[in-house]
Each structure stands twice: as structure tokens, then as C-alpha cells.
Symmetry: C2
């Protein structure tokens, strides 16, 4: 079996199996043997990829996180206007809701995710969070964000708003968070020209962030 290509493929298969079981059975009740069987590998093989059970399931969540980030990058690449904070928020919010595992994460669904959640944040990023602040700084420097308050405060408020929407049940329409964010954090007029100007730099920022997270993920052999 050619090691190079197939190895990554097998890792994906194991992650698929783990993700599926995680969603249907929950963290606590999903055993490594279940995962191995579903992925058509021996139990020992799973440990050739991840050093223990927890790392495996964290990798599942990390892959999901990388997934939405990649979707975001693709969206910005296709349409520069989506760098606008309200639009970007709407897209990310909708994308997170589309992914049951992330949704479970934000809804604090302990049944399916168990004690995994607290540890995910530690796993996610060294500089992932920074990238978002830099993005807001970038917006602020181009009159695409309110400037009457320090970005540091806006970040806190934004996180609160986003978590509020993600935690609400049933989840409000994406259009509603877009509207709320637009009013709460954007200046009265948002210049299309400046959006186009800023887009490439934001794209770079997010691309770098996604690359970092992906590296974290690929520590799975």
C-alpha cells in the first residue's frame, strides 16, 4: 500500500467514521473499536494516527472548524463584498448551523460532545483568535467598522452577540444576525469601493489562519 496518499485517505475515513458515530451515538458511548470497525481498519491502526481517544475526536471537531473557515475563504475569494462584517457573520453563522457537530458545540450539547468542548478551544488556535482581531483592525482602518469605540471592546461585544445567536433555540434566521451586526458594529455607510480594497488583505489573513489550523490538524499523520 503506497504510504503517501493512502495514509491521509485512511485518516479521513477514520475521521468520517468518528464524526458519524459522534453525532449518532455521542462521545461517551462511542468506542475506538466502533470507529475502527466502521472505518474498516484494525483498532491499533487508529493509534497510528492519533495518540489517544480524545485526540481523535478533537481532530474531528478541528476538521469541522477548518472546513467552515475554508468555506469562508472560498466565499470571500468569489465575492469581495462578503468581507463586510455583517455579511461575513451571516455566512459563518449559516455555515456553522449547517454542520451538526459545530452546532452541537455552540449549543453546549454535552450528550453528543461530552467533555470535549472545553478542550477544543485549547486545540484550535495559537493565533486563530488574533487573526479575527486583525481583521477587525483592518476594517476599522478603512471605515468599515465603527471607530467611536476601541476595537478591543467591539470584539467582546461581537463575540457576545454571535454566541447569543448561536445559542438561541430555535436559531434565528441568518438575515437577522446580519442586520443586528450591521447596526451594532458597522458605520452608517459602508463603502463598496473600500470593501473591494480591503478584501484581498482579509483574504490573506484568513488564508493564513486556515493554514495554521490545518497544520494543527495534520499532526494527525
Amino acid at each position: 500500500m503506497p504510504p503517501a496518499e493512502d495514509r491521509a485517505e485512511r485518516a479521513e475515513r477514520i475521521l468520517d467514521a468518528a464524526a458519524d458515530l459522534l453525532l449518532r451515538v455521542g462521545y461517551r458511548r462511542t468506542t475506538i473499536e466502533d470507529v475502527a470497525e466502521r472505518a474498516d481498519v484494525g483498532k491499533g491502526t487508529v493509534y497510528l494516527h492519533w495518540k489517544n481517544r480524545e485526540e481523535l475526536f478533537l481532530a474531528v471537531l478541528l476538521r469541522e472548524s477548518v472546513g467552515v473557515l475554508e468555506e469562508l475563504v472560498a466565499t470571500i475569494a468569489a465575492d469581495p463584498l462578503s468581507v463586510r462584517l455583517s455579511r461575513l457573520t451571516e455566512i459563518q453563522y449559516a455555515n456553522v448551523l449547517k454542520r451538526p457537530l459545530l452546532r452541537a458545540g455552540y449549543a453546549d450539547d454535552a450528550e453528543t460532545l461530552g467533555k470535549l468542548l472545553p478542550k477544543l478551544h485549547g486545540k484550535l488556535d495559537p493565533r486563530h483568535a488574533e487573526a479575527f482581531v486583525e481583521y477587525l483592525d483592518l476594517l476599522a482602518a478603512n471605515d468599515l467598522l465603527r471607530t467611536d469605540r476601541p476595537v478591543r471592546e467591539l470584539v467582546v461585544a461581537f463575540q457576545a452577540v454571535l454566541n447569543g445567536f448561536l445559542g438561541a433555540s430555535p436559531p434565528p434566521e441568518p438575515a437577522l444576525i446580519a442586520d443586528t451586526v450591521a447596526h451594532a458594529f458597522e458605520p452608517l455607510a459602508v463603502s463598496t469601493r473600500q470593501l473591494r480594497e480591503v478584501a484581498p488583505r482579509a483574504l490573506t489573513l484568513f488564508t493564513e489562519a486556515v493554514a495554521l489550523d490545518r497544520k494543527q490538524l495534520e499532526r494527525a499523520y
Copy 2:
């Protein structure tokens, strides 16, 4: 022992004891006997006031809720300008944070509140939630709230924002939620004159709501 006055006094004492233990020991580990002893009454006496353990502790939380509402009413009575949504939110937010039990409630602190939380909402109000919507309707009818979106949607967004802030840790400064709410839900200009005009009617609304909740509470003999 004169039944009239002392009965209510004793109920308060029991609630005090229960609140104290709830906070320090948590719902699961606080026994009725603990409460009775701390309140200097016999165990049976507790059951002369509440029909079971759950009702007692729900009464504790209900009393807290009534407490913040009463604070709010007093504030509006003293200063009509505090009917402004952003100001009112700031006040309520700060008041909730001041009360550890309510704070625990919003932070989903299962350790101290156990399985009490879901049931509180059922206990709180028949029309408590309606009152808030009516308040927003009132604001909207007087250009004190954005009118480019149906109040129904603003309610949802507002709840999400409020929960987001209350759930954040550490809790952001009250001034920050005030600012966020002002931008997200208020029109560009808020008329002081109209605030004064609306204040009495809002006061009536909240006074009625607090009276209803208090009745619920006084079903504790």
C-alpha cells in the same frame, strides 16, 4: 404567635436560608433539613409553606426575579429617561450580575442550580414575557425603537444579544451592552421628550408584570 405578620416573616427567613445554601452548597446537596435548621424551624414547618423541595427552591429564584423587576420599576419611577431600551437593558444587566443566583441561572451553572433552571421559566410568568413585547411595541409606536423591522424580529435579536452578554465570561461592562443595544435596536435619534411621554405607560406595564409575578410568589403562604 400572631399568624398574619410572622408567617410571611418566617417564609422570608426560610427563603434566605435556602438561597444561602443554594449558593454555597448547590441545589443537589442542599437538604430540606439543612434549610430548616438554618432558618430555625422544624423540618415540617417548611412544608407548611411549600408543597415540596422543588417549589421551595423555585420560590427562591422567583423572589430574586421579582427583586430585579422591582428595582427596575423603582429606577424608572425615579428617572423617566431610563425607559430607553439601551438604558433599561444596561440597568437590568447590571442588576442581574449583582445577584449571584440569577447570574448562575444565566451562566447555566448546573452545579448550583441543578435541574431547576428549565422549570423556572415555566414558573415565572403567564404574561411576564408578553409585557416585554408590549413595552417594545410601545417604544416602536413612539419612534424609540427601529421600525424598519417587525418588533417580533427585534425581540428575538434582542434576547440573543442579552443572553450572549449574560453568558459571556468575564461579563462585559454594562456600558458595552448599552452601546450595542442602542446601535442595534434604537433609531439614530432618541427623543427625550418622547421618552418622558412613554415612561408612565411603561411603568404601568412593568408594575403590572411585577404584581403578577409577586402573586405567583405569594402562593407561598
